[in-house]
Amino acid sequence: MKITVEHLNFYYGAKKALTDISIEMKANEVTAFIGPSGCGKSTFLRTLNRMNDIIPGARVEGSVKIDGADLYASGTDAVLLRRKVGMVFQKSNPFPKSIFENVAYGLRINGMAKGRELAEQVEASLKAAALWEEVKDRLHDPAMALSGGQQQRLCIARALAVRPEVLLMDEPASALDPIATQRIEELIYVLKKDYTIVIVTHNMQQAARVSDATAFFWMGKLIEFGPTPSMFTGPREKLTEDYITGRFG
């Protein structure tokens, strides 16, 4: 198991946002999180790279282990952890820098490459994110000049550049048209050879298409978790069935 979560509770100040979550995610698989808006998908995703640390008053109980090492143990360095667990955000957030500098950023700050090697790794990351052909002639243009879908793929390239082991994606295609969405889905399919991927999505078909396992959340609880095909053909829980057949949510 790549990621093991046991009895996780999460609080925003006094408000409890996640209750007793236990789940295991396998290496080189895609795990999808589904559930109605506000059920805690993003919150849970962000506990996996300790991104919630920066929210004042946020508190975690229970354990989250990656390769057996507890993320919330006192010896764990959140900064080092985030190098291993990359993240792509719901709303694409390229830096106000050039396309090249966006991808080079993580490599630079982590001292992973410079000069020719840096340029090569930027190119490789952009190719891995299926963006290279569209931007190779304008690497020094502002990232903000790219289209929404291109910006999202740039953020994926930026995350891939530092070669994480786990890639967390929070609704990476929510703001994209069907073609751009399809490109991202194809990308996820290719990337899972090298990465453990966790993806939040509102789109049932997308979850069914890209994921190996699916977790259904509802009001801060993990209602059901299992292999994607059986989740979509024969869910065990009534709530899951109602949600995936569109009766609520």
Partner: protein, 284 residues
Amino acid sequence: MTFRDWRRRALSSVMIGLSMAAVLAALIPVALILFFVLAKGIGSINWAFFTHMPAPVGEVGGGMANAILGSLTMVGLGALIAVPLGVIAGIYLSEFHGSTFASVVRFSADTLNGVPSIVIGVFVYAIFVLPVKHFSALAGGAALGVMMLPVITRTTEELLRLVPMALREGAYALGATRSRAMFTVVLPAALPGILTGIILALARTAGETAPLLFTSLNNQFWSTSLNKPMASLTVQVYTYATSPSEDWHRQAWAGALVLVMIVLVCSLAARFATRRLERMHTGH
């Protein structure tokens, strides 16, 4: 067209008219000042004005070379103190904006910003001039620095806090530490605005007379010593404008024009320098 539609359009036109009137009202003083300074000053601007010293009393001609150099020197000195201090303080305020100490610093900066410039002049006079018993460019620069400091601090803080949290998170997600994220993503993102704020602060203080009357005073001679009194455009303009001499009046207008031009050129230079950064924000 129904009455509702008609009313909506009429209201819209009235509002547009009102805002245009407000813009005009705000522009009129600026336009008048520029027009007057230009009209009155341009006739006395010549090469000698920039290269010559003030003419002795009773003689016609001469220039303000020493005052121009003095103003630039003292604004530069002030900036040397206030820009690094102000930017660093602003970073602190934005990073720790909830802390008690930050509230105290913020309140102090706002208070300092409201202190009349003449009071700052007297204050610097008491601590920089009285102990050594002579006026100096250094004291003048310090007074201007004290004036710039709160503006730069608060502008930096406000602009840093406008940078979306999402950018910061993007940097964290790639393994950036808090300070790394600050200096490599947040600060560069806010830099065009911060630079504009700094230039405005410099421009505003370049036009100050009161704090210099007590600190650098004036100097009829060419002096580059920071430890001696130093001429400045504002004090020189003040002296000439309040004198009875017609020729000095003309020189005062020319001095005012040079002051306005310096401010204008600096603002344009700042615009130009931040264009590349701004392009990264807007994408074109």
